[in-house]
């Protein structure tokens, strides 16, 4: 079993950039406070209606891009539609994406689509479907693939936990792991995950990308959001602890900005990207960060 999936041809810190007016304004404010991304992750569905826009947009960003996708709906037993898979691969070509990030999830039968990226059951049959579809995704992709853990929307059914299933799928399909600390935290209101057990089950050497959520500081202080603040502390401590593990060397750390209604302050993103560079992308002499 390989423990070294195809490497991502990019290193650094960045954020999930929406193809949306609000993010245009945000990028200008980030620049004003001296924040720079080394990489951007784009939502593929933003371009499904406007395929011709990804190329000029990627060119304007001027940094490597990763395409975030649900096109392959990896947990669904029916093969994902040819048309939507082709569109994703076409976006990869047009945008020059360096990687595809997909969800280990179920979206439900076509007539009753569930409206989210649902936790797959932990059964043998489900795991086999995930592996088959992940192999198909890898086979059809001209760039490396990483797979993201889902939010735990209900208790574990079947013998596999989210972490154990993720290990099996990523190893069998020989693809990288996108460790979403965000989704671990976002599980809290539904079915809180056993975080330590989950991290212990993950193949850390396969983690090539990390998702980390940020919210707006003022909104986070609102009554009822104490849990979010607690989770942010957990994320930071966890990332720092993982950075001390020699086998944990992600290629990119991507911040998600919309945990609150207002996007996280640009200063906050700037500082967190610096933190990620310090943890993973600078050598002892301070080289390698942007």
């Amino acid at each position: 079993m390989s423990t070294t999936p195809p490497a991502l041809p990019v290193r650094g810190a960045g954020y999930l950039r929406h193809f949306h007016r609000s993010h245009e304004d945000y990028a200008a404010r980030l620049q004003q406070v001296g924040g720079k991304a080394d990489v951007y992750e784009l939502l593929s569905f933003h371009f499904f209606n406007e395929m011709d826009q990804i190329e000029p947009f990627a060119k304007r960003l001027g940094k490597p891009i990763i395409l975030h996708s649900y096109a392959y709906a990896l947990g669904n037993p029916t093969r994902p539609a040819r048309g939507i898979r082709d569109r994703l691969q076409e976006l990869v070509r047009r945008g020059g994406a360096v990687a595809i990030s997909e969800h280990i999830c179920v979206t439900g039968p076509p007539e009753t689509y569930c409206g989210t990226f649902l936790t797959p059951p932990g059964t043998d049959e489900q795991t086999a479907v995930l592996i088959e579809n992940a192999r198909l995704l890898k086979q059809e992709s001209s760039c490396p693939v990483v797979l993201e853990n889902a939010v735990q929307f209900y208790n574990q059914i079947g013998p596999r936990s989210i972490g154990k299933q993720m290990r099996e799928v990523c190893e069998a399909a020989d693809v990288g792991v996108l460790l979403s600390l965000s989704n671990v935290s976002f599980s809290d209101p539904y079915h809180p995950m056993d975080k330590e057990a989950f991290l212990a089950e993950l193949p850390l050497e396969r983690v090539q990308e990390v998702h980390y959520f940020l919210g707006h500081s003022e909104e986070q202080r609102a009554p009822g959001l104490e849990g979010m603040v607690r989770e942010m502390v957990w994320q930071q401590k966890t990332l720092e602890a993982l950075a001390r593990r020699p086998e944990f060397r992600p290629a990119v750390v991507v911040f998600e900005l919309d945990a609150t209604t207002t996007l996280a302050e640009p200063e906050k993103l700037r500082d967190h990207m610096e933190m990620a560079r310090d943890l993973f992308f600078r050598d002892a002499a301070g080289r390698g960060g942007k």
């Binding site: 007016r21 179920v106 039968p109 059964t123 479907v129 929307f153 539904y190």
Partner: protein, 270 residues
């Protein structure tokens, strides 16, 4: 064993309020079979903690409502000043218990539901106009740009529109008639308006905004006096010739402004 039975159970519970209530009251194996759960899957479905799944259903419904609120912001902001919103949302979720991966399909469903709701209620008619305004702006913001070969990029237009240039409105766009001044209503609150607005027929030119991602703009048609002359691609010279000669200079200036605002395409001979 088929996985689809478990998936169908999960999605039905998460999406369908009536079915969810039935399941929470207690569901027999035969009822589960009628949902497509086969016998080997029954123990898996029975192992699902419905209290947890109920919390997820509520969270996902809130997410769905949040997305519709982003698309129909002004309509929903006004509507919630007239009625309690929970029955409105529950009615929508029950009317469309299956999901879709296509956002515009969800937008269409919501607008159909909201239209029926408004027509069957004694609510002020301006709400229907506002909902349609949000529908058109959302649809156009998502619609693809209609590219035409040879059209100049924004930064290549320069300071002048030349008489020998060709011009045409950028597409997609729509011209829509409303029964009230929806632009003013959308930018104000009910208290600022001082009550439901009066009947005031308004025609808007609503166009995909090429300068920003996922955006549309709305302009009163009266601010585009040359509108009917811009629908077909034509020489600037020919368009100006249709007006009084004394207006030529100001028309050139008007066309330059439309070009710089991204409302029209400009085609220039090399």
């Amino acid at each position: 064993m088929s996985l689809e039975g478990v998936h169908r159970f999960l999605t039905v519970f998460l999406r369908n309020p009536a079915m969810r209530a039935d399941i929470l009251r207690g569901v027999s194996d035969d009822q589960l079979r009628s949902l497509g759960v086969d016998d080997p899957e029954l123990p898996l479905v029975r192992a699902i903690d419905l209290n947890v799944l109920y919390r997820s259903a509520r969270g996902l419904a809130d997410e769905r409502r949040g997305r519709r609120r982003q698309e129909f912001t002004q309509f929903i902001d006004y509507l919630e000043q007239f009625i309690p919103m929970e029955p409105f949302w529950e009615g929508f979720e029950q009317a469309y218990p299956s999901g879709t991966l296509h956002r515009m399909e969800e937008v269409r469903r919501f607008s159909d539901y909201a239209t029926r709701f408004l027509l069957e209620s004694p609510l002020p008619p301006f709400l229907l106009d506002l909902m349609q305004f949000n529908l058109h702006t959302t649809s156009l913001s998502e619609a693809p740009r209609v590219q035409i070969e040879g059209a100049l990029d924004d930064d290549a237009i320069g300071d002048m529109v030349l008489p020998s240039d060709e011009i045409a409105l950028r597409e997609p766009y729509r011209v829509v008639e409303f029964r009230c001044d929806v632009i003013r209503i959308a930018s104000q609150s009910l208290s600022q308006l001082g009550g439901p607005p009066p009947y005031q027929p308004t025609t808007l030119f609503i166009q995909k905004d090429w300068s920003q991602p996922k955006t549309a703009r709305a302009i009163p048609l009266e601010e585009l006096p040359m509108f009917r002359h811009l629908r077909e691609r034509a020489l600037v010279h020919d368009r100006i010739a249709q007006f009084d000669r004394r207006l030529a200079y100001s028309l050139i200036g008007h066309l330059r402004e439309l070009a710089h605002r991204g409302i029209i395409h400009v085609f220039r001979k090399a």
